[in-house]
Each structure stands twice: as C-alpha cells, then as structure tokens.
Amino acid sequence: MSDTIYGPADFYAISLSNGDVDDGVRQAVVDLLGNDAITVVDLLVVRKGEDGTVDAGELAEGVVPGVDELGETGAQLASEEDVEAVAELLEPGSAALVAVIEHTWARGLVEALGKAGAEVVLAERIPAEVVNASADSLG
C-alpha cells in the first residue's frame, strides 16, 4: 500500500502514428515531469503487432527516449487489463503512448474531503472548447 494520498488521475492513450514517440511528444512529456501541479504516475507504450499480439514497453526499456524514470511517485498503476483495453482500440501494427496523469494539486482537497466526510457527487471534465465558448458568451 502507498502512503501517498493521490489526487484523481486521468488516463490517456495517445496513438503514435509511426509507432514511435516523436521528439515533440517526448519534449511535452519531459515538460509535464517538471510540472508541480500534476504528476505523471505511469508512462508506457502499448504496441499491437500485425498478428494482434499485445506488448507493453516499459520506461526502463527506454520506450520514451530521454525519459528513463518518473521519480519517486512513478508507479506501474496501469494494469495488464488497461493495456488490453488500449490495445483493443489499436489497429494491428500500431502503438499508443499511455500516460496516467495525477492531479497533484488536488491532493490537499482529497485529504480535506476525506477528513470532513464529504463526497464528490459529480466530477466532470469540461472540454476546453466548451469552457472557452461559455466564457465568450459572457461577452
């Protein structure tokens, strides 16, 4: 068991067009690692072979060039079941970068809610387009 009280996390699977993590994406991930508001708690590459076999490339295997580790909060949180769920979305012969990104900024809130016995009854991610459109409509 972990002593850390994590905030909520987002699970992203990003398809990699040529099956490789390109420099722009790698740099974006490196930038995320330096961001205190979030924590990249898991990062891997899921590959689906032409024959449908599924494999997951771990960071330790150098799947994301320039990113060898995630620091002390990095954990293999995504399970084999998640890997398979992602693989189902992939065409044979393609790959996806999977990132589990924790909202570190919410840790204090999670702890406070727990202590207060308060519950999150609704949590909804509002797409940026909707937020911006709503803001625009305010004039």
Partner: protein, 112 residues
Amino acid sequence: MIGRARIGRGGLIGTAARTAVIAGTATATTGAVARHQQRKMYDQQAAYEQQAAPQPVYAEPVQAAPAPAQVEAAPAGGGDDLYAQLQQLGQLHAQGILSDEEFAQAKAKILG
C-alpha cells in the same frame, strides 16, 4: 514486455467505470468510458465466438468454403449467448449506461 507489477490486477479504466456505476455517479464522461468498455466486451465476445465457431466446421470433411461457414457457424451455438447479450443489454439500459436510442440500436444489431 509487460511489467510484472501490471499483471493480475484490475484495470484503472474498468474499475473507475464500475465504481461510477455502483456509486450512481456515472456522468456523461465516465458513462462514455463504460459504454465503450461494454461495446468492446461485446465485440470481444463476438470475436471469440467467431474464432471458436469455425473449429468444428474445419473438422468436418467439407472444407471448401470456410468463409461462409464461419458466418453460418456464429448463430448456430449462439442461442444462449444471444439471450445473455440481450439480458446484459437490458441491464446496461436500466443502469443508464445505454441511452434508449443506443439500447434500441444494440438490440436491433444483436437480433440481426
């Protein structure tokens, strides 16, 4: 190679979707994930059935046309599966994971 720590645990996606359903807080977003998971489950089931079904067909002397045989083979053992699928579908509809429209579409698809 899949890391050892990843094996033998429930998935984040599936667990989150199930939790949302149980807690009754399945929102549009988590609902969409759950819907997707369920659809994938059905697709998987269908794929398994298709994979499993042709084997006895190949065992028979008539090997000339495996492709149409595969199509015919699926419904042959599918009576119970069909019922189970409809039942699952009904549950998903009742839980609000499927909308009325999606339920009708999926039902029509299953009944072919």
